[in-house]
Protein backbone atom coordinates (compact mmCIF):
# COMPACT_ATOMS: atom_id res chain seq x y z
CA UNK A 1 0.00 0.00 0.00
CA UNK A 2 2.64 2.52 1.06
CA UNK A 3 4.75 1.40 -1.83
CA UNK A 4 1.89 1.95 -4.17
CA UNK A 5 1.23 5.47 -3.03
CA UNK A 6 4.94 6.25 -3.30
CA UNK A 7 5.04 4.96 -6.83
CA UNK A 8 2.27 7.26 -7.90
CA UNK A 9 3.44 10.27 -5.91
CA UNK A 10 3.96 13.44 -7.89
CA UNK A 11 2.32 11.87 -10.86
CA UNK A 12 -0.70 13.38 -12.53
CA UNK A 13 -2.67 10.40 -11.38
CA UNK A 14 -2.93 10.96 -7.69
CA UNK A 15 -6.64 10.31 -7.59
CA UNK A 16 -6.20 7.15 -9.49
CA UNK A 17 -3.36 6.21 -7.19
CA UNK A 18 -5.49 6.53 -4.10
CA UNK A 19 -8.37 4.63 -5.60
CA UNK A 20 -6.07 1.85 -6.69
CA UNK A 21 -4.60 1.97 -3.21
CA UNK A 22 -8.09 1.50 -1.75
CA UNK A 23 -8.79 -1.46 -3.95
CA UNK A 24 -5.50 -3.01 -2.88
CA UNK A 25 -6.00 -2.37 0.79
CA UNK A 26 -9.39 -4.05 0.50
CA UNK A 27 -7.87 -7.01 -1.29
CA UNK A 28 -5.00 -7.23 1.16
CA UNK A 29 -7.07 -7.11 4.32
CA UNK A 30 -8.75 -10.41 5.14
CA UNK A 31 -12.03 -8.67 5.78
CA UNK A 32 -14.72 -9.92 3.46
CA UNK A 33 -17.75 -7.79 2.76
CA UNK A 34 -21.06 -9.65 2.99
CA UNK A 35 -24.72 -8.75 2.83
CA UNK A 36 -26.33 -10.76 5.59
CA UNK A 37 -30.11 -10.74 5.73
CA UNK A 38 -32.60 -11.88 8.33
CA UNK A 39 -35.65 -13.49 6.83
CA UNK A 40 -38.57 -15.63 7.87
CA UNK A 41 -42.17 -15.54 8.88
CA UNK A 42 -43.71 -12.59 10.67
CA UNK A 43 -42.91 -12.02 14.38
CA UNK A 44 -40.19 -14.65 14.71
CA UNK A 45 -37.73 -12.16 16.22
CA UNK A 46 -35.75 -11.08 13.16
CA UNK A 47 -35.52 -7.45 14.23
CA UNK A 48 -34.70 -8.36 17.84
CA UNK A 49 -31.82 -10.49 16.55
CA UNK A 50 -30.69 -7.86 14.03
CA UNK A 51 -30.52 -5.36 16.88
CA UNK A 52 -28.50 -7.71 19.06
CA UNK A 53 -25.96 -8.30 16.28
CA UNK A 54 -25.87 -4.58 15.50
CA UNK A 55 -25.30 -3.69 19.16
CA UNK A 56 -22.65 -6.38 19.65
CA UNK A 57 -20.50 -5.37 16.67
CA UNK A 58 -21.41 -1.77 15.82
CA UNK A 59 -23.02 -0.41 18.98
CA UNK A 60 -26.18 0.42 17.04
CA UNK A 61 -29.62 -1.17 16.64
CA UNK A 62 -31.11 -1.86 13.19
CA UNK A 63 -34.90 -1.89 13.53
CA UNK A 64 -37.89 -1.30 15.70
CA UNK A 65 -39.39 -4.29 17.51
CA UNK A 66 -43.06 -4.85 18.31
CA UNK A 67 -45.43 -7.60 19.35
CA UNK A 68 -47.78 -6.34 16.63
CA UNK A 69 -47.12 -8.33 13.42
CA UNK A 70 -45.52 -6.56 10.43
CA UNK A 71 -43.65 -3.97 12.47
CA UNK A 72 -40.82 -4.05 9.90
CA UNK A 73 -42.55 -2.97 6.70
CA UNK A 74 -39.54 -1.81 4.74
CA UNK A 75 -36.01 -3.16 4.57
CA UNK A 76 -33.79 -1.87 7.38
CA UNK A 77 -30.03 -1.95 6.89
CA UNK A 78 -26.96 -1.30 9.00
CA UNK A 79 -23.71 -1.01 7.05
CA UNK A 80 -20.08 -1.47 8.00
CA UNK A 81 -20.70 -3.82 10.88
CA UNK A 82 -17.28 -5.04 11.94
CA UNK A 83 -17.97 -8.71 12.70
CA UNK A 84 -15.22 -10.67 14.43
CA UNK A 85 -15.29 -14.18 15.74
CA UNK A 86 -12.70 -16.94 16.03
CA UNK A 87 -10.23 -15.09 13.83
CA UNK A 88 -12.79 -14.45 11.09
CA UNK A 89 -13.36 -10.82 10.22
CA UNK A 90 -16.25 -9.66 8.12
CA UNK A 91 -17.61 -6.32 7.09
CA UNK A 92 -21.30 -7.07 7.30
CA UNK A 93 -24.24 -5.18 5.99
CA UNK A 94 -27.12 -6.35 8.17
CA UNK A 95 -30.35 -6.41 6.21
CA UNK A 96 -33.43 -6.80 8.37
CA UNK A 97 -36.33 -7.84 6.16
CA UNK A 98 -40.08 -7.52 6.56
CA UNK A 99 -41.59 -10.87 7.55
CA UNK A 100 -42.92 -12.97 4.69
CA UNK A 101 -46.59 -13.96 4.76
CA UNK A 102 -49.05 -15.30 2.18
CA UNK A 103 -51.91 -13.28 3.61
CA UNK A 104 -52.32 -9.87 5.17
CA UNK A 105 -55.63 -9.03 6.80
CA UNK A 106 -55.98 -5.57 8.33
CA UNK A 107 -58.61 -6.87 10.77
CA UNK A 108 -55.87 -8.75 12.62
CA UNK A 109 -54.23 -5.48 13.59
CA UNK A 110 -57.36 -4.12 15.22
CA UNK A 111 -56.87 -6.80 17.91
CA UNK A 112 -53.80 -4.83 18.99
CA UNK A 113 -55.76 -1.64 19.47
CA UNK A 114 -55.16 -0.03 16.08
CA UNK A 115 -58.15 1.80 14.61
CA UNK A 116 -59.50 0.84 11.19
CA UNK A 117 -57.49 3.47 9.31
CA UNK A 118 -54.23 2.65 11.02
CA UNK A 119 -54.83 -1.06 10.50
CA UNK A 120 -55.57 -0.63 6.78
CA UNK A 121 -52.48 1.54 6.28
CA UNK A 122 -50.36 -1.00 8.13
CA UNK A 123 -51.74 -3.81 5.92
CA UNK A 124 -51.02 -1.89 2.71
CA UNK A 125 -47.47 -1.15 3.83
CA UNK A 126 -47.01 -4.76 4.91
CA UNK A 127 -47.91 -6.08 1.44
CA UNK A 128 -45.41 -3.68 -0.15
CA UNK A 129 -42.76 -4.75 2.36
CA UNK A 130 -43.20 -8.41 1.50
CA UNK A 131 -42.72 -7.67 -2.21
CA UNK A 132 -39.61 -5.61 -1.40
CA UNK A 133 -38.20 -8.40 0.77
CA UNK A 134 -38.64 -11.06 -1.91
CA UNK A 135 -36.88 -8.84 -4.48
CA UNK A 136 -34.03 -8.15 -2.07
CA UNK A 137 -33.27 -11.88 -1.79
CA UNK A 138 -31.31 -11.56 -5.04
CA UNK A 139 -28.81 -9.17 -3.43
CA UNK A 140 -27.80 -11.17 -0.40
CA UNK A 141 -24.69 -13.22 0.29
CA UNK A 142 -25.77 -14.97 3.47
CA UNK A 143 -29.12 -15.50 5.16
CA UNK A 144 -30.26 -16.10 8.71
CA UNK A 145 -33.63 -17.81 8.39
CA UNK A 146 -35.26 -16.98 11.70
CA UNK A 147 -37.92 -19.35 13.02
CA UNK A 148 -39.97 -19.16 16.21
CA UNK A 149 -39.26 -22.37 18.18
CA UNK A 150 -42.70 -22.24 19.77
CA UNK A 151 -44.40 -22.71 16.38
CA UNK A 152 -44.52 -25.77 14.12
CA UNK A 153 -41.59 -25.42 11.72
CA UNK A 154 -43.09 -26.80 8.52
CA UNK A 155 -44.91 -23.64 7.57
CA UNK A 156 -44.89 -23.24 3.80
CA UNK A 157 -43.16 -19.85 4.02
CA UNK A 158 -40.15 -21.54 5.66
CA UNK A 159 -40.10 -24.32 3.07
CA UNK A 160 -40.36 -21.85 0.21
CA UNK A 161 -37.57 -19.63 1.56
CA UNK A 162 -35.24 -22.55 2.26
CA UNK A 163 -35.98 -24.04 -1.15
CA UNK A 164 -35.27 -20.76 -2.92
CA UNK A 165 -31.99 -20.24 -1.03
CA UNK A 166 -30.91 -23.78 -1.88
CA UNK A 167 -31.71 -23.33 -5.56
CA UNK A 168 -29.73 -20.07 -5.63
CA UNK A 169 -26.89 -21.78 -3.76
CA UNK A 170 -26.84 -19.06 -1.11
CA UNK A 171 -25.45 -20.07 2.28
CA UNK A 172 -27.88 -19.88 5.17
CA UNK A 173 -28.28 -20.72 8.84
CA UNK A 174 -31.60 -21.62 10.43
CA UNK A 175 -31.99 -19.73 13.69
CA UNK A 176 -34.35 -21.47 16.13
CA UNK A 177 -35.31 -18.40 18.15
CA UNK A 178 -37.17 -17.80 21.43
CA UNK A 179 -35.57 -20.71 23.32
CA UNK A 180 -36.23 -18.80 26.56
CA UNK A 181 -39.93 -19.62 26.32
CA UNK A 182 -41.06 -22.78 28.12
CA UNK A 183 -43.01 -24.06 25.12
CA UNK A 184 -40.04 -23.66 22.75
CA UNK A 185 -38.92 -26.77 20.89
CA UNK A 186 -35.78 -26.08 18.87
CA UNK A 187 -35.32 -29.88 18.68
CA UNK A 188 -38.37 -30.04 16.45
CA UNK A 189 -36.77 -27.57 14.04
CA UNK A 190 -33.60 -29.67 14.02
CA UNK A 191 -35.61 -32.81 13.31
CA UNK A 192 -37.52 -31.11 10.52
CA UNK A 193 -34.37 -29.84 8.78
CA UNK A 194 -31.67 -32.43 9.57
CA UNK A 195 -29.72 -31.51 6.44
CA UNK A 196 -29.29 -27.86 7.44
CA UNK A 197 -27.40 -25.91 10.10
CA UNK A 198 -29.78 -25.10 12.96
CA UNK A 199 -28.68 -22.86 15.85
CA UNK A 200 -31.02 -22.48 18.85
CA UNK A 201 -30.90 -19.01 20.44
CA UNK A 202 -32.88 -16.47 22.35
CA UNK A 203 -32.48 -13.11 20.65
CA UNK A 204 -34.13 -11.63 23.74
CA UNK A 205 -31.80 -12.98 26.45
CA UNK A 206 -28.73 -13.64 24.30
CA UNK A 207 -28.66 -17.33 25.13
CA UNK A 208 -26.85 -19.25 22.36
CA UNK A 209 -25.76 -16.09 20.52
CA UNK A 210 -22.06 -17.02 20.56
CA UNK A 211 -22.95 -20.33 18.87
CA UNK A 212 -24.64 -18.31 16.14
CA UNK A 213 -21.59 -16.07 15.70
CA UNK A 214 -19.42 -19.19 15.44
CA UNK A 215 -21.73 -20.57 12.76
CA UNK A 216 -21.61 -17.27 10.83
CA UNK A 217 -17.80 -17.20 11.04
CA UNK A 218 -17.62 -20.78 9.86
CA UNK A 219 -20.01 -20.42 6.93
CA UNK A 220 -18.41 -17.17 5.74
CA UNK A 221 -14.78 -18.29 5.84
Amino acid sequence: MVLFEALFKNSAHQNMASSIGNVFSRLLSKKKQANMCLIGEVNTGKSTLANRIGMDFAGKPVSRVSEIPHETRSIQTLEKVDFQKDGTQLELTIIDMPGIATKVDWREFTKYGLNKNEAMTRAKEATKGIIEAIKELNNIDLALVVMDSTRVPFDQVNLTLLGALEMQKKPFIIVANKTDLPEASPEMIKETFPQHIVVPISALTGEGIEDLYEAIAKIAS
Binding site: I100, T102, K103, V104, D105, Q156, L161, G163, M167
Partner: protein, 116 residues
Protein backbone atom coordinates in the same frame (compact mmCIF):
# COMPACT_ATOMS: atom_id res chain seq x y z
CA UNK B 1 -67.70 -18.48 3.08
CA UNK B 2 -71.15 -17.44 2.08
CA UNK B 3 -72.02 -20.40 -0.13
CA UNK B 4 -71.97 -23.96 1.09
CA UNK B 5 -70.49 -25.24 -2.15
CA UNK B 6 -66.72 -25.31 -2.37
CA UNK B 7 -65.16 -25.90 -5.75
CA UNK B 8 -61.80 -27.57 -6.07
CA UNK B 9 -60.05 -27.26 -9.44
CA UNK B 10 -57.44 -29.85 -10.34
CA UNK B 11 -55.08 -28.46 -12.93
CA UNK B 12 -53.14 -31.15 -14.77
CA UNK B 13 -49.51 -30.74 -15.69
CA UNK B 14 -50.25 -30.51 -19.42
CA UNK B 15 -52.39 -27.44 -18.86
CA UNK B 16 -49.84 -25.76 -16.64
CA UNK B 17 -46.88 -26.53 -18.90
CA UNK B 18 -48.36 -24.59 -21.78
CA UNK B 19 -48.61 -21.37 -19.80
CA UNK B 20 -45.92 -18.81 -19.07
CA UNK B 21 -45.24 -18.23 -15.38
CA UNK B 22 -47.20 -14.94 -15.15
CA UNK B 23 -50.17 -16.56 -16.88
CA UNK B 24 -49.97 -19.59 -14.64
CA UNK B 25 -49.93 -17.39 -11.54
CA UNK B 26 -52.87 -15.35 -12.87
CA UNK B 27 -54.83 -18.51 -13.50
CA UNK B 28 -54.21 -19.61 -9.93
CA UNK B 29 -55.00 -16.26 -8.34
CA UNK B 30 -58.12 -15.66 -10.44
CA UNK B 31 -59.50 -18.96 -9.19
CA UNK B 32 -58.52 -18.43 -5.58
CA UNK B 33 -59.94 -14.92 -5.60
CA UNK B 34 -63.22 -16.55 -6.66
CA UNK B 35 -63.09 -18.75 -3.60
CA UNK B 36 -61.95 -21.87 -5.38
CA UNK B 37 -59.30 -24.24 -4.13
CA UNK B 38 -56.67 -25.00 -6.77
CA UNK B 39 -54.63 -28.19 -6.87
CA UNK B 40 -51.82 -28.18 -9.42
CA UNK B 41 -50.47 -31.48 -10.59
CA UNK B 42 -46.86 -30.38 -10.60
CA UNK B 43 -45.67 -28.44 -7.58
CA UNK B 44 -44.44 -24.91 -8.07
CA UNK B 45 -40.69 -24.44 -7.70
CA UNK B 46 -39.58 -22.31 -4.71
CA UNK B 47 -38.82 -19.36 -7.01
CA UNK B 48 -42.28 -19.70 -8.55
CA UNK B 49 -43.80 -19.79 -5.07
CA UNK B 50 -42.02 -16.53 -4.24
CA UNK B 51 -43.35 -15.02 -7.46
CA UNK B 52 -46.83 -16.22 -6.46
CA UNK B 53 -46.50 -14.59 -3.03
CA UNK B 54 -45.37 -11.35 -4.71
CA UNK B 55 -48.35 -11.37 -7.06
CA UNK B 56 -50.66 -12.21 -4.18
CA UNK B 57 -49.40 -9.20 -2.24
CA UNK B 58 -50.01 -6.97 -5.26
CA UNK B 59 -53.61 -8.16 -5.29
CA UNK B 60 -54.45 -7.96 -1.58
CA UNK B 61 -57.19 -5.47 -0.89
CA UNK B 62 -59.00 -4.49 2.23
CA UNK B 63 -62.18 -6.46 1.86
CA UNK B 64 -62.34 -8.86 -1.03
CA UNK B 65 -58.97 -10.60 -1.00
CA UNK B 66 -56.64 -10.99 1.97
CA UNK B 67 -54.31 -13.58 0.52
CA UNK B 68 -53.76 -17.26 -0.02
CA UNK B 69 -52.87 -20.42 1.73
CA UNK B 70 -50.07 -22.20 -0.08
CA UNK B 71 -49.00 -25.76 0.39
CA UNK B 72 -46.63 -27.80 -1.73
CA UNK B 73 -46.22 -31.51 -1.24
CA UNK B 74 -43.06 -33.05 -2.59
CA UNK B 75 -42.45 -36.70 -1.95
CA UNK B 76 -40.16 -39.17 -3.61
CA UNK B 77 -41.76 -42.52 -4.21
CA UNK B 78 -39.55 -45.50 -4.86
CA UNK B 79 -41.50 -48.09 -6.80
CA UNK B 80 -39.59 -51.33 -6.67
CA UNK B 81 -36.88 -52.76 -4.55
CA UNK B 82 -34.14 -53.40 -7.08
CA UNK B 83 -31.08 -51.23 -7.39
CA UNK B 84 -32.29 -49.94 -10.74
CA UNK B 85 -35.80 -49.11 -9.62
CA UNK B 86 -36.98 -45.72 -10.69
CA UNK B 87 -37.62 -43.00 -8.18
CA UNK B 88 -40.76 -41.16 -9.09
CA UNK B 89 -41.31 -37.70 -7.76
CA UNK B 90 -44.84 -36.90 -6.80
CA UNK B 91 -45.36 -33.23 -6.34
CA UNK B 92 -48.30 -30.91 -6.22
CA UNK B 93 -49.28 -27.54 -4.89
CA UNK B 94 -52.51 -26.53 -3.24
CA UNK B 95 -53.49 -22.90 -3.29
CA UNK B 96 -56.58 -21.94 -1.33
CA UNK B 97 -58.49 -18.87 -0.19
CA UNK B 98 -56.73 -18.06 3.03
CA UNK B 99 -59.43 -18.57 5.59
CA UNK B 100 -61.51 -21.36 4.10
CA UNK B 101 -59.14 -24.27 3.91
CA UNK B 102 -56.81 -26.15 6.20
CA UNK B 103 -54.25 -28.31 4.46
CA UNK B 104 -52.40 -30.98 6.37
CA UNK B 105 -49.91 -33.60 5.30
CA UNK B 106 -49.95 -36.60 7.59
CA UNK B 107 -47.62 -39.41 6.59
CA UNK B 108 -47.69 -38.30 2.97
CA UNK B 109 -51.47 -38.13 2.75
CA UNK B 110 -52.71 -34.72 1.87
CA UNK B 111 -55.86 -33.64 3.61
CA UNK B 112 -58.00 -30.65 2.72
CA UNK B 113 -60.36 -29.59 5.48
CA UNK B 114 -62.81 -27.10 4.10
CA UNK B 115 -64.80 -24.94 6.48
CA UNK B 116 -68.33 -24.15 5.40
Amino acid sequence: MSSSVVRVDFIPEVTVEKLSLPNRLDLILDSVANNKVVVIEKALEPQEELALIQKTMERVDADKFTGIKLFSLKSKVNNGKSFFSKTKELTFSVIAPSDAVQVTDINGILSLSIAQ
